[in-house]
Subunit: 423 residues, 2 copies
């Protein structure tokens, strides 16, 4: 389908049906939503063969297009990965339902009692790339929070997403919920994404992009509705002069090398000059032993000739690879200045034993997640006890940090009177 008018009509229809479904979902009992998730999990397990066949089509087409190995790996499903997707749905069914939770109670002198209560957000648009599992994860999280979802998967995972989506739809219907609660955009045209970014005539409340910097950048640039996202995670670790250096070595190794490709991986280490002569060689030893390239400022390079000279560009680069940039700074304030300038406001860590320094770091660094004596790789909804996340947001509005079911809700005020009139 490439006709503009057809795509417009198609997408507006998706939006209208989502809004209608959202009104029903907002009042759906927890049991019914959880039943839909469990039914979908059972259907995924019952349809492993069909899903793998659909996935084979996608993988074959992607290989024919000559994409890279990492891409093929993200795209490929096997029985174990399908089991993990089904298990993920059941885990989300086990989470507490955020809808209806009382967040605050205000008792006024005039006798009014005002409750602030969680409500669903409405309709959530999710735009993702070549990871078929996001179809299930994102759809399920939206559903749990009482929201309708409009999912737009990458064209490379089209058949896989469609097969998984069918299980979700059948699960919804088995539980007596509207099949429009989780809709998958049935065309691969890029124009469909543009329509979503415009908000489908007020029928999308928030967009969540899941994918690379190109996708997220386009969404942030063009969206006329709120976006929960992070463009990149340029995560810093500050090694204060009071740091326990053996602990620092272990944390930096973990923060960089545990998994280099995730947004919470560390990219830059800032080291106080007072400990640099001692710590730089120790750290470079450890990193290089694990196969990590170290790029450093001139002061770093002067301390260790295995260090490659860093350029200005390095301080703004999210390597997502076994490369790290290192800068020796005059003092703690210089470290804060570096972060204020180069950070992507995702996650930063302070390694220090001096409480005052930690306190200042927590108060003065304006990022979604701040760590003290812990690896930046803990920046993850699961590690925060949220059960699952749809992504990590670096914006300051509404959701910040890991976006779990609670962050996919809004709230309203419910005022209990006894015939109160305002004087």
């Amino acid at each position: 389908m490439t006709d503009h008018a057809d795509i417009h009509t198609l997408m507006m229809g998706l939006g209208e049906r989502a809004r209608l479904a959202a009104r029903g979902l907002a009042i759906a009992p927890t049991d019914q939503k959880d039943q839909a998730l469990r039914e979908a999990a059972a259907l995924l397990r019952a349809n492993v063969e069909g899903i793998l066949a659909a996935n084979q089509k996608d993988v074959a087409a992607a290989k024919a297009n000559g994409v890279g190995a990492a891409f093929i790996d993200r795209l490929t499903l096997d029985a174990q990965r399908i089991e993990a997707i089904a298990d993920g749905l059941e885990q989300i069914a086990l989470l507490n339902d955020p809808v209806g939770t009382k967040l605050a109670e205000i008792r006024r002198p005039n006798g009014l009692v005002i409750d602030r209560v969680r409500t669903p957000l409405g309709v959530i648009g999710v735009i993702f790339e070549s990871r078929p599992n996001v179809t299930a994860d994102a759809g399920a999280l939206c559903l749990k929070a009482g929201n309708a979802a409009i999912l737009r998967g990458g064209s490379d995972s089209f058949h896989s997403s469609r097969a998984i989506h069918q299980c979700l739809v059948d699960g919804l219907e088995a539980a007596g919920l509207s099949k429009d609660a989780i809709q998958l955009v049935p065309v691969t045209d890029r124009e469909a994404v543009g329509k979503m970014l415009q908000g489908l005539n007020g029928n999308i409340d928030v967009i969540v992009p899941r994918g690379g910097k190109g996708l997220v950048g386009r969404v942030q640039q063009e969206a006329r509705v709120p976006v929960f996202a992070h463009l990149e995670g340029i995560c810093h670790i500050v090694v204060d002069q009071s740091a326990d250096l053996d602990m620092a070595e272990e944390i930096i190794l973990n923060a960089k090398m545990r998994r280099t490709g995730i947004c919470g991986a560390a990219e830059t280490v800032l080291i106080d000059q007072k400990i640099a002569p001692l710590f730089v060689p120790q750290m470079v030893d450890a990193l290089m032993a694990k196969g990590c390239e170290v790029r450093g400022c001139t002061r770093t390079a002067d301390l260790d000739d295995r260090v490659v000279a860093a350029t200005e560009e390095d301080w703004s680069t999210e390597y997502l690879d076994a490369i790290i940039s290192v800068r020796v700074v005059d003092d703690f304030d210089a470290a804060l200045d570096h972060i204020a300038h180069y950070s992507s406001h995702h996650t930063e860590a302070i390694l220090a034993e001096n409480d005052e320094v930690v306190e200042r770091f927590f108060r003065e660094v304006d990022s979604a997640i701040l760590m003290h004596n812990a690896s930046t790789q803990f920046a993850d909804g699961g590690e925060f006890g949220m059960g699952a996340e749809i992504g990590i947001a670096t914006g300051k509005m509404h959701a910040r940090g890991p976006v779990g079911v609670e962050q996919l809700t809004s709230f309203n005020y419910r005022v209990h009177g006894k015939g109160h009139t305002r004087p």
Copy 2:
């Protein structure tokens, strides 16, 4: 100044200075912010003559332009109103500082302790019309929450706003804070508003419009940054068949007639057909005795011949005047359908003694504020115990309902480790 390049440079400079000031404000101690507010209050009192002289210029120009009496009333200051503005600043100084408040503590099995802590939002742009007091109120609320403010007042109140703003700036400097913490756009060109709506190159985090539907509509339409606002308050009152009818009469009178020009004033009453024959004449008596025009559906008009026939347009009209629309509905579900169709999602009330009906109303109506047996005119930050509000928001993102100092904050996560690495 009308040169495009000049306005661009001017506005971008305001944005950059605001961002710098915000970094300082975010870590300013509560005492220092409160001192600035108290100093400003004292300066307002010390400069009553000068402020009144500036206001006289504005009022004279507005009268020469032939604006209406209500406009002149909003614009005009006197000694009493200036005292109220100064008092308002002192009240805001007395509020709890939201910055640094711990919102949640998560203790993980691995020993990580994760605090969710309030932080300022950053830079807030406030665009308002011909109400000089907003200069002080809005600037003070932003400051209390640790945010820098860029204020853009209506051209009609230009001299008054400037005189009040000078007191705020002098207060900031007396307390040792940056004078850029509260900036007033020094030109009246409409183009300056357009620049703010584009976000001043990322240097405005949220826009708050204060004014009529024309201003709010333009801001919502054009803004490329989040907006806290309500376009209108088409507030509904549902009179259930279980309602206490004398209480209903009193609440409807108050909700409509206490002040007809505020956003929380009721515009439409929906009456269950089972009680309509009894209640419609009683309610019309009471409303007409207070000078309120009643426009009704045919069923309402059939029950009382003083009722004017309502048109379709009436159901979507925010009268802000002594006019009310009334519809007799088949049942409670029909009332919910009417609200879902016509509501502006601001405030709605249910008058009922049946708990199940109240419960359903609270769960099923998707508006910022829901009232049970209370007047819609309680929709106000002061009445909610927030101390002061910068406005009421009907969006579902971040702030909903009255926007007080807490709603002008964000939050981040502060993770306390003891050398934790992620397995």
